[in-house]
Amino acid sequence: MTHYLILRVIAKLMVGPIMLFALYVQFHGDFGPGGGFQAGVIFAAALILYGLVFDLTALRRFASLELLCSVMALGWLLYVGVGFATMLLGGRFLDYDFLAADPVAGQHIGILLIELGVGITVAATMLIIFEVYAGRKIATEGEDDA
């Protein structure tokens, strides 16, 4: 990919805005279309684009499989953790009303945290799938391994 100058420059320009858009979809989820699933996929797409153009090694430098695995587990814990938090605060599982003194504010906090958990997990899982498959190709073709 080192020869494709246009591709590299455009990709470099795109990665940032794609991530920004992912965050917009993530946090706008409670007002309009969007939410954790879509945002997670878009966010991962930015990094996958980076990995495709600049090589898997470059991607793995800051997003190793071990790190992604932990991030995935953390997002998942955030989701279930909110459920347990609402129970400890006296409500039912995932009853956001109890997260704040005002039920409406509680609903807002609840859905934000839940969607964040989903977004983190989806993004990490997408990247794990990509890295595992892409890494496999390198291993079988005998090129320089990551």
């Binding site: 695995c69 932990s70 995935m72 587990a73 953390l74 998942w76 814990l77 279930v80 953790g81 459920g83 347990f84 129970m87 006296g90 409500g91 039912r92 599982f93 995932l94 009853d95 956001y96 009303d97």
Partner: protein, 506 residues
């Protein structure tokens, strides 16, 4: 504290394994992961027993998630039927988890072990969720959680035998088709009733039974669940998946996953669709009855010719599913009690048998029938467990197998179908043949010269014997299981939980 725990018990049974699973993935240490899994499954077992006691004493109960009361929100609705299923899943989960320490330690590489436990806990959470939920779409979500994680844990058998990968892939294909069929059926019902809550669906379907949509939805849901249940012509994924999966996985899935799918079918046949739904009556008579009988004979006959003990037991499982399907086909309370009894009893005996085979695998590294040569003397405790489990499978008096077959025969007489009763007895003879083949090789053939096989360690024998002894205890002292099964069958037939107010919050 106790009151709060009790009030949240239905969701805790699902949420605690769901919370523990990522912990195992986060702190990737085999011993930590096993300890967490062991504690969680033991707690889930205690919780499910408590829930069963609550349901048996106080009737059905309902819990809803979030702040959304049913029929809008997701409801967990528990009666005797799913309470006993929860006990099966959590109980077998706890026993196999105790067994897993040594068995998984040998069969799966250290690096993969924490992730293995993560997937096991997820599978447990999914199965518990399917059993507990009263929401048809939520059931689909939990079914997928349990299925996806079971594909993973089956594929982990690939460290010993690469064929685990293709068997997991076949199961993935078949399982996905099943789940898709199920969700198409739910979609069809949703278009005409506008609800996803099972109790609400049941109330609304009554007036719509004459439409074309409802029978089509019924067919889709039933075929989808039958794939998961491994009902006779849809069982092709099962033998390979059970044969090549790691021992713990085989024992756990054989004892729980088909049971949960069986429960879900019962829930749809009786609770969601009314029992007097004419299309359903015909389905039971012209589909369930013949297919159940064919499964009993065809699969047992295939089991006789297997040269691999795990595969032999897998085919026997398909035959046993045939008995369950047969019990449903009677369309009376006795038949249904027999089915529910057999769900419980078969989980005990098949779990115990697979764990016994696991002991042999632990010592000899093989599950081929040749590896059993002379083991009767070399591994006396393991083979004794296998023999008792086998006798239960055959249905000898004083074992659980006898209890379920007794009720199955009673149900057939009640319906006036005495040839069916004869066929049940005849098919048990086939079980005698395939169990005898293993017993003969183990006890009557000499061990291969120069190979000394030691008895399995206590950490494997103990869990195995817990299930095997349960086979005898609940065979001799069958009152509790029979009472629960009859209460469950009654509640499926007459549904005292209809119009039940949701459980009060804490």
């Amino acid at each position: 504290m106790i009151a709060a725990l009790k009030a949240h018990l239905p969701i805790l049974l699902v949420a605690v394994p769901l919370f523990a699973a990522p912990l195992c993935a986060l702190f990737r240490h085999p011993l930590f992961a096993w300890t967490v899994s062991m504690l969680v499954t033991a707690a889930a077992f205690a919780g499910s027993l408590c829930l069963l006691a609550m349901v048996m004493a106080g009737g059905p109960l309902s819990y809803y998630l979030g702040g959304w009361a049913p029929p809008w929100g997701i409801e967990f609705r528990l009666d005797a039927v799913n309470a006993i299923i929860l006990v099966i899943v959590a109980g077998v989960g706890a026993v196999t988890m105790a067994y897993a320490r040594a068995s998984v330690g040998q069969e799966i590489s250290r690096a993969a072990q924490p992730l293995f436990y993560t997937a096991m806990l997820l599978c447990l959470a999914g199965l518990m969720g399917v059993a507990a939920t009263g929401d048809a779409f939520n059931l689909f979500v939990f079914l997928e959680i349990s299925s996806l994680s079971s594909y993973v844990i089956i594929a982990m058998g690939a460290e010993r035998d690469k064929r685990a990968l293709t068997s997991a892939y076949t199961y993935l294909m078949m399982g996905t088709i099943g789940a898709t069929f199920y969700v198409i059926g739910i979609g069809l019902i949703y278009t005409v009733t506008g609800t996803l809550n099972m109790a609400d669906m049941a109330a609304r379907i009554g007036e719509l039974e004459q439409t074309r949509t409802i029978p089509v939805a019924f067919a889709f849901i039933l075929v989808g669940l039958a794939l998961k249940l491994a009902m006779y012509p849809l069982h092709l994924w099962l033998p390979n998946a059970y044969t090549y999966a790691p021992t713990v996985v085989t024992a756990f899935l054989a004892a729980t996953s088909t049971k949960v799918a069986g429960y879900a079918s019962l829930r749809f046949i009786y609770t969601v669709f009314a029992a007097d739904f004419a299309f359903e009556e015909r389905t039971l008579l012209f589909l369930f009855l013949p297919l159940g009988l064919v499964a009993m004979f065809a699969s047992s006959a295939v089991a006789i010719f297997q040269s691999d003990v795990k595969r032999l037991l897998a085919y026997s499982s398909i035959a046993q599913v045939g008995y369950m399907v047969l019990g449903v086909s009677y369309g009376n309370v006795t038949g249904l009690s027999a089915t529910i009894l057999h769900l419980f009893n078969h989980a005990l005996m098949k779990g115990g048998l697979f764990l016994a085979v696991g002991c042999v695998i632990f010592r000899t590294g093989s599950h081929s029938i040749d590896a059993f040569r002379g083991l009767g003397r070399q591994m006396p405790w393991t083979m004794a467990a296998f023999v008792i489990g086998g006798l239960a499978l055959i249905g000898l008096p004083a074992t659980v197998g006898f209890v379920s077959k007794w009720y199955l025969v009673l149900g057939a007489f009640e319906r006036g179908w005495w040839p069916v009763a004869l066929l049940i007895v005849a098919s048990s003879l086939l079980a005698v043949i395939y169990i005898w083949r293993v017993v003969e090789i183990a006890y009557l053939q000499p061990a291969p010269a120069g190979v000394a096989v030691k008895e399995a360690p206590l950490s494997l024998l103990l869990p195995c014997w817990v299930l095997i002894l349960a086979c005898v205890v609940f065979g001799v002292y069958a009152d509790p299981t029979v009472t629960i099964a009859e209460t469950a069958a009654q509640s499926l037939f007459f549904d005292p939980g209809a119009g039940l107010p949701p459980m009060d919050g804490p």
